[in-house]
Structures are given as structure tokens and as C-alpha cells.
Amino acid sequence: MNLAISATGDDLESKLDRRFGRCSYFIILDPDTMEFETIQNASRGASSGAGVKAAQILADSEVDNLITGNVGPNAYNALTAAGIEIFTGASGTVKEAIAKYKEGELSRTNEPTTAGGTGKSR
């Protein structure tokens, strides 16, 4: 089981990044052992489709569940197609978000949480 968290820094003490496609880092961890690795979000500076690309990165890393702040429609539909479940409603540090997730306090999202499209290029 792989859990991904969008984060502003590269360790468990860093803050949850509420942006999904344009977050700074993804922390990918095994919630049972709490072992984790950090990847820089390569889609962060994408001129378009950051959410789609971020979903691709997570799918390539075999992530099953994601904790983040907001997902737009494109990201939502890519994550869903990749079979990744999205959990929102967390705040504070990555560690706190994981604790809440383990206690079942985070809600699973069944729809995009924002209108998206912040990364459009014309």
C-alpha cells in the first residue's frame, strides 16, 4: 500500500501542500512501517496540465491513495482513471495528516474540489 501526500517540504514535519498539481514535493510512504521516500514534483512548473502530469507521476510510482488539499477536474479524472483514491480535509504537517488518515478522519473525495485550470497556457 502506497500513500502519497502533497507537501511543501521533503520530510514528515513539513506542511501539507494544498495544491496538488503544483505542490513542491510528494512524500510517498507505507503507512504501516512509516518508511517513506520523497520526490520533487516535476509537474510543478508545467505550463499546462500540471494536475494530469502529477497524476501520471503518482501512477508511475504505484501510489494507491493520495492526501492533498485540492484537485481540479483534470487531475481528478486522471487520478480516478489510475485507480488512486483521494483524501482531503487534512491540514498542518504531513505527520498530522497521516495520523488523521489512519484514524479514518479524512474524507474520501468523489468529485473535483476546485474548478481547476490554474495552469493554463495560451
Binding site: 509537474s43 508545467a46 505550463s47 499546462s48 496540465g49 500540471a50 494530469v52 502530469k53 497524476a55 501520471q56 501512477a59 483534470n74 479524472n77 486522471a78 482513471a81 489510475a82 485507480g83 493554463k120 497556457s121 495560451r122
Partner: protein, 288 residues
């Protein structure tokens, strides 16, 4: 002669200058007007074109046959715009992110990608008096203005005077509008903000080797910084439009001010003569 009227940001009076210039010149020249500000085409409000007909503008977007697709992910990796995502058992195409570059179908070794045309906007053609009027219109939600501007510019003829109302800023659609222009007429306001944007516009035009000139709109507000900059940089200030209540009123009623003030008609013709001299310094008399 192709003159592109541009501005560092919206709301500086770019469309006003383009429209008044076109109207003033149309009495003695053949003029084409191209509204390249395809996200917000508004020159038509002033020029009120008649007999418009429209042609769609399309791009080719990928369509994937999942029967042959091996989910190798090469297409997603190649796509610069993240318009395709490949997962273990599906491929998603995001048509609204696709720029129609065709790269994905070239890299797909399984031959799983075919292309279909998608309409992203239209070019309308009409006339205003003797002016041939074109405007591009981008379908809402479409990301790309450039192909529409490119299609529209195919209508430009060498012998006529073409006035292009460019989008504001310095992004791709502006570059596309400036491309091939003989002159860039930059409209700005005499304020530090105006100066900031003007510098960028001058830089872009110069990089493209297009001679520039400046029109200062709402002259009288702000400060001298734009004029000082133009003097230091050797950028000619070709016209100053005063911050005049009557001009502003006409503007808000959608009336080009050359239609009300004959002296301005003359000034726009002089402006054109100066542009001609800059573009073609050796020509003795003005010929178009």
C-alpha cells in the same frame, strides 16, 4: 504594409489607436483590419462590421484505439503539454490541453493514434465602409489563440495597409501577431506601470527586428518616466492622446474619435507617414 498595434497590458487604449488609425487611413488607402485579440475581440464594437461570414479554425487532436494500444506511455512522455496520461489499463486524452502538434502520433510505435479535427474557434470576415474587417474568436475554454491568429493572417495582402490589433502582453499570441510585421506601434500610459510593460514590449519587438514607435494615451496623467525612457532608448514617441473627457465619453459609447474630430484624422495620417518614413527611410514620397 503591416502595422501591429500592441500594448504591454490591456486597457491602455490599444484598440482605440488601432481603430482610429484604420478609419483615418481608409479614406485614401485600402485598409485591412485584423482583430488578433482573439480572447477578447472588441474592435468590432467600434468598427461595427457588416456582412460577416465565418470560417472555423481547427487543430488535429489524437484519438487512441485502445485495441492496439500497449499502454507503453511513450505518447504521454512526449507530450509537452501533458495532454495525454497513460495508466496501466487506460489512456486519457485531454483535448482542451492538446495543442495539435502531432508529436504523440509520431512517437507511437503501435500505430494506435489517429487524428481528428477539432474546432477551436473561428475567423469572421466582414466590412466597415471600405475597410476589410477580420476578427478571430477563440471558443471559450480553448487554450490556444495562436492557430487562429495564424489562420487570420493568411488573409493579409502585401499591397494593402494591414492594421493588426494584437492581444496585450508579450506571450505567444502577441509574437504570432507581430510576426512578419513592418512596424510595431506600442500604446502605453504615462505611468511607472505603463513604463514597466512598455519596456517588455519594446524588447520583444526589437528581438524580432521590428521597428517600434510609441503612442502615449491619457497624456497628462502620471509622470515623465515613459518619455524619458523613450528618449534614452531612441524610441520615437509618435503621438500623444490627451486625457480628455470628450474622447473618453466617445470611447464608452463605442464611437471612434476620428469620426467626431477631423483634426485627429489628420494626426493619424501624419502618424502613418512617420511610420512609413521609419520603415522605408529612403523612399522620398509616401507610396503604398
Amino acid at each position: 504594409m503591416q502595422i501591429t498595434v500592441s500594448a504591454g497590458k490591456g486597457g491602455t487604449g490599444k484598440t482605440t489607436v488601432a481603430v482610429n488609425l484604420a478609419l483615418a487611413l481608409s479614406e485614401s488607402h485600402s485598409v485591412e483590419f485584423l482583430d488578433c485579440d482573439v480572447e477578447e475581440p472588441d474592435a468590432g464594437i467600434f468598427l461595427k462590421p457588416e456582412n460577416e461570414n465565418s470560417e472555423p479554425v481547427t487543430i488535429e487532436i489524437p484519438e487512441i484505439s485502445e485495441d492496439v494500444c500497449t499502454y507503453c506511455g511513450d505518447c504521454s512522455e512526449a507530450c509537452e503539454f501533458n495532454a495525454i496520461a497513460t495508466f496501466s489499463e487506460n489512456v486519457l486524452v485531454y483535448p482542451e490541453l492538446c495543442h495539435g502538434c502531432g508529436l504523440c502520433s509520431r512517437v507511437c510505435t503501435a500505430d494506435a493514434i489517429s487524428e481528428r479535427s477539432k474546432i477551436i474557434g473561428e475567423v469572421r470576415r466582414g466590412s466597415t465602409g471600405s475597410i476589410d474587417f477580420y476578427e478571430g474568436d477563440l471558443t471559450i475554454g480553448e487554450p490556444m489563440a495562436t492557430p487562429i491568429i495564424r489562420d487570420m493572417k493568411k488573409k493579409v495582402t502585401e499591397e494593402n495597409i494591414s492594421i493588426l490589433d494584437s492581444p496585450p502582453g508579450t506571450a505567444c499570441p502577441v509574437i504570432e501577431s507581430l510576426h512578419g510585421s513592418d512596424f510595431a506601434l506600442l500604446v502605453t500610459e504615462p505611468t511607472p506601470f505603463g513604463l514597466h510593460d512598455l519596456r517588455l514590449s519594446v524588447k520583444v519587438a526589437r528581438e524580432m527586428n521590428i521597428p517600434v514607435g510609441v503612442v502615449i494615451n491619457r497624456y497628462g496623467i502620471g509622470d515623465k518616466s515613459v518619455e524619458d525612457y523613450c528618449e534614452d532608448e531612441g524610441v520615437p514617441v509618435l503621438m500623444k492622446i490627451p486625457n480628455d473627457r470628450k474622447i473618453a465619453e466617445l470611447y464608452s459609447n463605442g464611437v471612434p474619435f476620428v469620426n467626431k474630430f477631423d483634426n485627429w484624422k489628420g494626426r493619424f495620417n501624419q502618424l502613418f507617414e512617420e511610420i512609413t518614413r521609419i520603415v522605408n527611410p529612403r523612399a522620398k514620397s509616401v507610396e503604398v
